[in-house]
């Protein structure tokens, strides 16, 4: 057999052919364009249409930005400089940026305070948002931040936020001591301790009103994008605990509690935010004890918080419903009572899976804070429509101002939604 083969011509190639480069049409950028832009006549047509649409948009947008005027004191000067080159009059932003950001009544020498509060906000939320990177101890920064931000933005004596913080601290201390016995004892003990501290602290702050005081700024002087940020941050953080309570109430077995929560949630979700703002503006005063009058901004915060908590409650209810029934049964079989099982087993898991939904609600709520301009508060949209567009200097500069406002909102909301998508990928532990 081997003899026969030794004489026959080799059929199998005994050397390896050097690898040839792929055909030019099937590699690199050409291949990519053939599959992604010009695959078939319909795809090519689509690409051409898209390119034309892109050209139409860019042919207006690019000169608007590149020929923009940044240095002018009013719109007539702007038009003189531009000479019809199709540029934008961005001078209005350079001229009025303080108003757009801080409102037109916030004292100019104090602009550093809200700016600092804004920067600290990132430090405060970082341990909350990226809990895997930052150690848990840093959460204390998050806990301190609300009081610090209040002090920075509203000013006044530093003792007021410190006393408020001490009160919460004392309440938490008592709560953590007593909660091992029973949740009710811990909760009411904590509340009592906080109230006692606040009551006693009232004497101290009353005695020293000017201690380390920053110049106080009234709530009605807040405006611009700062007002949107304040409303957004405060209302989202306040609505979280209410939302959790409402969600638990809606899931509970007690028909009366459940009924109250369902009626509240469905009512709030059924009406537009504007009607609730009308309530804050003109109706709420009727329902308060005669003689009490508090800030419009506080009334608006109450109504937006109620609004947001109903939506957050629905998100968390989704999280509660998504937990397997076994978790509830396991908690019961360990002999945990209702508060223990919720606090230790159910809520940590349910909240974790509802974070992306909560973030979406937060983005929506932040966008909805522009609605306060309808009840004549001067947030960024209210400022643009009111003082700035009505002024003789800038009457007629629409696109630059609205574009600027849109850009600010886009940066914040896009950032938050990208975070939410990142978090969703982090939390996705199922197999795909």
């Amino acid at each position: 057999m081997s003899d026969m083969h030794s004489h026959s011509v080799g059929f199998v190639r005994d050397s390896v052919i050097p690898p040839a480069p792929p055909p030019a049409l099937e590699s690199g950028i050409v291949k990519w364009m053939r599959t992604n832009l010009f695959a078939g006549w319909s795809n090519t047509l689509l690409t051409l249409v898209a390119l034309y649409a892109l050209y139409l948009v860019l042919s207006v947008l690019v000169p608007w930005i590149t020929n923009g005027v940044w240095n002018a004191s009013n719109i007539r000067e702007c038009r003189e400089i531009m000479q019809g080159s199709g540029g934008g009059c961005f001078a209005v932003i350079a001229d009025r940026w303080q108003q757009l950001i801080f409102g037109f009544q916030y004292p100019e020498e104090s602009y550093w305070r809200p700016s600092l509060a804004f920067i600290l906000l990132f430090i405060a939320v970082a341990p909350l948002l990226f809990s895997k990177i930052f150690p848990r101890n840093l959460l204390i920064l998050t806990a301190v931040y609300p009081f610090l931000a209040f002090y920075l933005i509203w000013g006044g004596s530093i003792l007021i936020p410190i006393m408020a913080m001490v009160g919460f601290g004392a309440g938490y201390l008592v709560y953590s001591k007593l909660v091992t016995n029973s949740f009710a004892a811990g909760f009411f003990g904590g509340v009592a301790a906080a109230v006692v501290v606040w009551y006693l602290g009232g004497f101290i702050t009353g005695a020293m009103p000017g201690f380390l005081a920053l110049e106080p700024v009234a709530s009605r002087d807040m405006g611009g994008f700062m007002l949107n940020m304040i409303l957004g941050v405060i209302c989202v953080s306040l609505s979280l605990p209410f939302g959790i309570l409402l969600a638990l109430g809606r899931q509970s077995d007690l028909p009366v509690v459940k009924g109250i929560c369902v009626v509240f949630i469905e009512f709030v979700r059924g009406v537009p935010l504007i009607t609730l703002l009308f309530v804050a503006n003109v109706v709420l005063a009727y329902f308060l004890p005669p003689g009490t009058s508090f800030d419009l901004i506080l009334r608006v915060i109450i109504m937006i918080t109620l609004f947001a908590s109903a939506y957050i409650a629905e998100v968390i209810r989704g999280g509660l419903a998504a937990l397997p029934k076994g978790q509830y049964e396991a908690a019961n079989s360990l002999g945990l009572d209702y508060t223990q099982s919720m606090r230790l087993i159910i809520l940590p898991q349910a909240l974790k899976i509802s974070i992306p939904g909560i973030v979406n609600v937060a983005v929506g709520l932040f966008k909805d804070t522009t609605l306060v301009s309808v009840i004549s508060m001067f947030d960024i949209v209210g400022l643009i429509r009111g003082p700035i567009l009505a002024s003789t200097d800038w009457n007629g500069v629409y696109w630059e101002l609205f574009g600027f406002a849109a850009l600010l909102f886009f940066i914040v909301c896009y950032g938050i939604s990208q975070y939410s998508q990142w978090l969703e990928r982090q939390l996705a532990t199922d197999h795909r």
Partner: protein
């Protein structure tokens, strides 16, 4: 949560209200109820005292008094002598008009953008992603104001259409874009117009009958009856035929520049267009995401299985993918419709006279009946949302996956 030991009969002690799980729930509910009643009583008492202090009362009599203001867009007969109630009804109709227009447009935009985001064309995919992100992340109020500015600032005044060499001309001589609104031709019903309309309705019914017949034939005999081109033909031919046989009873009345403004035709105000398109484009971005998620939620195995059965790609789409995707898409779609209806209350920012502008705006300010007006306003939106979500729940239950 029940205890296993048998309870001792007839030995009820007061402490069991807190310690025994059978009674504790009643205690809690009782406390909750009492707290609710106390809170309500507190608010009610304050209300009574505040109203008494200002010499006011709760009364809905103002609804039947003359409103004294004009509404620029009137779907029904209305003038300043009509009642406040009629003004509110006009507002409700205006709300429904803009909501329906925006819902239809948003669905078209959203489905288009959602499908295009899954296109295999890279450029189109990216453009649609930019559209979705840009519009989702900016408040709808800003979009409304931007489009309103375009309508009122950038479009020419009616006077620009006048003269020997006008600076602006009507689009195709039928539609005039002016800063006072868009003027489109109005249909004029001549004698016999109802016959044409009746024919049109009959042909629509005919299309449904044809589809039903085709389905029945398919199931009974396995024979495929063509439906697409017959449907198209049925849609156009009979109506056009009747229209021309009767000597064109339905004509068009073109807008015409007379005096200082356009006359005849239908005027669509800039405020309506701003609200309509801003809501449609904004919500369209959300719907696009819903549509994309719905289509992506159908696992690839479904497409492959249908392909293995020998179905052609368009049949895979219409028979396998879409019916399953719709189950995922429709619930969020309807909640987007509800959002449009609720967001249409932003009309007040551009002066479109919807129910928030009439009842919650001018009527409230003129009569000072804040509580009554806001209450009625909330009731209107509540009725709409609750009735739509009831219908939705029924629908959801009917399409729910029937599992064991």
């Amino acid at each position: 949560m029940s205890t296993l030991t048998d309870p001792q009969q007839g030995s009820f002690r007061l402490s069991m209200l807190l310690s025994d799980t059978r009674y504790r729930s009643y205690t809690f509910q009782f406390i909750a109820l009492v707290a609710l009643i106390v809170a309500m009583a507190f608010l009610g008492l304050n209300l009574v005292r505040n109203l008494a202090a200002q010499g006011l009362d709760i009364s809905y009599d103002f609804l039947s008094s003359a409103s004294g203001y004009d509404i620029n867009q009137r779907p029904i007969e209305y003038d300043s002598q009509s009642t406040h109630l009629r003004a509110a009804v006009v507002g409700i109709l205006n709300t429904l008009i803009v909501a329906v227009l925006a819902c239809v447009t948003a669905t078209i935009i959203g489905v288009f953008a959602g499908v295009m985001r899954l296109s295999n064309n890279w450029l189109v995919r990216k453009i649609m992603a930019v559209y979705v992100e840009a519009f989702r992340n900016v408040p709808v109020l800003i979009w409304i104001l931007i489009i309103f500015s375009i309508m009122t600032v950038s479009l020419p005044a009616p006077s620009a259409f006048r003269g020997e060499t006008p600076t602006s001309t009507m689009f195709l001589d039928t539609v005039a874009f002016t800063n006072r609104g868009v003027y489109i031709p109005a249909p004029v019903m001549g004698p016999g117009a109802w016959i044409v309309i009746l024919t049109f309705v009959a042909s629509i019914l005919g299309i449904f009958a044809l589809r039903k017949y085709a389905m029945k034939t398919l199931f009974d005999t396995g024979r495929i009856v063509p439906t697409f081109w017959p449907s198209v033909a049925l849609f156009f031919l009979p109506t056009l035929l009747v229209h021309f046989i009767l000597g064109r009873p339905i004509g068009l009345e073109y807008p015409e520049l007379r005096g200082f403004n356009f006359q005849d035709g239908i005027q669509i105000r800039g405020s309506l267009i701003a609200l309509w398109f801003a809501l449609a484009i904004y919500t369209g971005a959300f719907i696009a995401e819903n549509v994309r998620a719905g289509i992506q939620a159908i696992s690839k195995g479904q497409t492959e299985a249908a392909g293995a059965l020998g179905l052609r790609p368009n049949r895979i789409m219409s028979l396998v993918i879409l019916p399953q995707a719709l189950r995922v898409i429709i619930p969020p779609l309807v909640s987007q419709y509800l959002n449009i209806t609720k967001n249409s209350s932003l009309a007040i920012a551009v002066g479109y006279m919807d129910v928030t502008g009439t009842l919650g705006g001018i009527t409230l300010n003129q009569t000072g009946r804040a509580i009554e007006s806001v209450l009625l306003l909330m009731l209107f939106y509540l009725v709409i949302s609750l009735s739509i979500s009831t219908i939705m729940n029924i629908y959801n239950n009917s399409v729910k996956l029937k599992e064991r």
